[in-house]
C-alpha cells in the first residue's frame, strides 16, 4: 500500500531505461496533495518521461509509481484506464481532437464516461469553458484556435471530469506573454478553486517558480534538488544554481564535447 495519504503521487526508487540508455536511476519523488508542484530541469533531461511514468503511459524498469493510492504499473490494462479517469493531462501540443469542435472536445470525456443528459453536459462544458475564458469559442474547430486558445480548451477538457490530479506538460512553451500570463494564473486558480493536485513539468523558470509551492529539479537521471522556489534560488548546489540563475556555462557545459580547438582550426591532428 501507499505509505502516506498526504501525497497524491509517489515515485519510489523509480528507474527507467530506453533500450540500454538509462533515463532515470532510482528516483524518489513525492507530490503533496492540493499543491502545485513543479518539475524542472534542462531540455532533454526526461521531464516529460517522468510525467508519462506518473500517468503509467510508460512502465518503469524498476520501482513503484503510486497515484491516488494505487500502484499504477501493477494494474491491469482496464483498471489502469479506470484509474486515469481521475487524472487530467494538459499535453504540450494541446492534443485536441481535430475532427471535433471546441464544445465536443470538452464534452468528450463526459460522453464516454458518464450517462449525463445532454442539457447537463452542455452546462458543464460551458462552465469549464467559462473557467478558461473561452465560452464564446464553443463552435470553433481546433484549427481556428491560436496556440494559447488551443491549450486553454485542452485545459477545459482536462478538468471536465473534475480530476483529482492535473498534470501539465510544458504549458508555457511557445506562448506569447499574454497567453503565458493567462495560463500561469489559470493553473494556480484551478488548483485552488477545485482543490486538486497539480504537477507542472516545465523549464520556464520564472513562470513555474511564481505558481509552484514546491519544485523538484531533475537532471542526469536523478533528482538534483528539491524545495520551495525560494529555497532553490538560494541553493549552494552549483547544478541547481546554474539552472535557477540561467548561467550559460557551469557544471552543465555550454559546449558539446568536442576535440581540442587547435585540432579543428589549426589542423593539428
Amino acid at each position: 500500500m501507499s505509505a502516506d495519504n498526504a501525497y497524491a503521487v509517489e515515485l519510489k526508487g523509480v528507474s527507467f531505461k530506453r533500450g540500454s540508455r538509462s533515463i532515470f536511476n532510482n528516483v524518489d519523488i513525492r507530490i503533496p496533495k492540493g499543491k502545485v508542484t513543479g518539475i524542472m530541469g534542462p531540455s532533454g533531461c526526461g521531464k516529460t518521461t517522468l510525467l508519462r511514468l506518473m500517468g503509467a503511459q510508460l512502465r518503469p524498469s524498476a520501482g513503484e509509481v503510486w497515484v491516488n493510492g494505487q500502484n499504477l504499473p501493477k494494474l491491469s490494462r482496464s483498471d489502469l484506464f479506470d484509474a486515469r479517469k481521475h487524472m487530467g493531462v494538459l499535453f504540450q501540443s494541446g492534443a485536441l481532437f481535430t475532427d471535433l469542435d471546441v464544445f465536443e472536445n470538452v464534452a468528450f470525456p463526459l460522453r464516454v464516461h458518464t450517462e449525463l443528459p445532454e442539457e447537463m453536459i452542455r452546462d458543464i462544458v460551458l462552465m469549464k469553458l467559462q473557467a478558461v475564458g473561452l465560452r464564446g469559442a464553443v463552435e470553433l474547430m481546433p484549427d481556428e484556435l491560436s496556440g494559447g486558445m488551443n491549450r486553454r480548451v485542452a485545459l477545459a477538457r482536462a478538468i471536465a471530469m473534475d480530476p483529482q490530479l492535473l498534470m501539465y506538460d510544458e504549458p508555457f512553451v511557445g506562448q506569447d506573454p499574454i497567453a503565458m500570463g493567462v495560463l500561469v494564473r489559470l493553473i494556480r486558480l484551478l488548483n485552488d478553486a477545485l482543490g486538486i493536485t497539480s504537477v507542472v513539468v516545465s523549464h520556464d523558470l520564472a513562470e513555474t517558480a511564481s505558481i509552484a509551492d514546491y519544485i523538484y529539479v531533475v537532471g542526469d537521471g536523478q533528482v538534483l534538488g528539491q524545495g520551495t522556489p525560494a529555497e532553490l534560488m538560494s541553493s549552494d548546489n552549483p547544478r541547481i544554481r546554474q539552472f535557477m540563475q540561467g548561467d550559460p556555462d557551469g557544471p552543465v557545459p555550454f559546449h558539446f564535447p568536442a576535440s581540442a580547438l587547435d585540432a579543428d582550426f589549426l589542423g593539428k591532428r
Partner: protein, 265 residues
C-alpha cells in the same frame, strides 16, 4: 568505413530476425487487444458506421471505375483471343470467372490498400504524432478499442462488399463491350456465364479470398499507423510500408489460396 566481417553479417541477420519476431508479436497482441479487449466506453456501433463510411463508401468511386474498366479490358482481350478459336461466345464466361475468382478480390484489395489502407495509416500516425492517442489514454479511453477496433471491423466488412461490387460492375462493363460494342450475342454471353459460374467454387471462394485480404490489409494498415515513429518522416515511411506490405501480402496469399481452392491436389 570498416568492412563487415562474416560475424558482423551474422549478427546483423540475427538482429533483423529478432526485430521481425518482436514486430510480429507486438502486432498480434495489438490485434488481440483491439478485437477482444474489454471496452469501457459505449458508442461502438456509431464509431463503426462512421468508419464504414470513410473506409468503405469513400472507396466506392475508385472501385466502381476500376471494376468497369477492368471488365471492359477483359472483354476486349478475351474477344480478340477467343475469336481466333471461334469461341467468342465464351467471353462472358471468361470475364465472370476471371473477375469472381481472381481480379475482383485481388485488385479490390490492392486498391483498398492504396486508398483506404494508406489513409488509415496516415490518420492514426498523425493522431499519434499530435498526441491525440496519448490524450485519449489519459482521458481513460483505450485507443485500441476507440480508434483501432472500429477501423479494423470496418475494413473486414467493407472489402468483401467492395470486391463483390467490383466484380458486378466489371461483368457489366464486359457485357457492354462484348455485347453492345463487339456484337457478341447477348443470349450466349449470359447463358455461358450462368452455366459455368457456380456459387460455391467461384462466388464463395472469391468472397473467402477477399475476407482474408480484408483481414490482412486492414491489420497491416492500422498497425503501421499505431506503431509508426511520430514524425512526418515516420508517418510517410509507415504509409509507404502499408501499401508495399499489404500489396505483397495480398499477392502472396492469393497464390496460396488459389492453390488451396483450385489446385486439385
Amino acid at each position: 568505413m570498416r568492412r563487415k566481417t562474416l560475424t558482423d553479417r551474422v549478427a546483423l541477420f540475427g538482429h533483423s530476425a529478432i526485430e521481425a519476431v518482436a514486430i510480429l508479436g507486438r502486432s498480434t497482441l495489438f490485434l488481440l487487444h483491439s478485437l477482444f479487449g474489454r471496452s469501457s466506453t459505449g458508442g461502438g456501433f456509431q464509431l463503426l458506421v462512421k468508419q464504414l463510411y470513410s473506409v468503405g463508401v469513400m472507396s466506392l468511386a475508385i472501385v466502381v471505375v476500376s471494376g468497369m474498366f477492368i471488365g471492359m479490358v477483359l472483354a476486349l482481350q478475351g474477344f480478340s483471343i477467343l475469336t481466333k478459336y471461334g469461341s467468342e461466345q465464351a467471353v462472358g464466361q471468361m470475364v465472370a470467372l476471371t473477375l469472381l475468382r481472381e481480379l475482383g478480390p485481388v485488385v479490390t484489395a490492392l486498391l483498398f490498400a492504396g486508398r483506404a489502407g494508406s489513409a488509415l495509416t496516415a490518420e492514426i500516425g498523425n493522431m499519434k504524432s499530435t498526441e491525440q492517442l496519448s490524450s485519449l489514454e489519459m482521458i481513460g479511453v483505450d485507443p485500441l478499442k476507440y480508434i483501432v477496433a472500429p477501423r479494423l471491423w470496418a475494413g473486414f466488412i467493407s472489402l468483401p462488399v467492395l470486391a463483390l461490387i467490383f466484380s458486378v460492375v466489371g461483368i457489366w462493363g464486359g457485357s457492354w463491350v462484348a455485347v453492345d460494342w463487339l456484337g457478341v450475342y447477348s443470349g450466349s454471353f449470359w447463358a455461358n456465364m450462368q452455366n459455368s459460374v457456380t456459387f460455391n467454387t467461384d462466388v464463395l471462394n472469391g468472397v473467402i479470398k477477399s475476407l482474408v485480404f480484408a483481414f490482412v490489409v486492414t491489420w497491416i494498415a492500422v498497425f503501421q499507423g499505431y506503431d509508426c515513429e511520430p514524425t512526418s518522416e515516420g508517418i510517410s515511411r509507415a504509409t509507404t510500408k502499408t501499401v508495399v506490405y499489404a500489396s505483397l501480402a495480398v499477392l502472396g496469399l492469393d497464390f496460396i489460396l488459389t492453390a488451396l481452392m483450385f489446385g486439385d491436389f
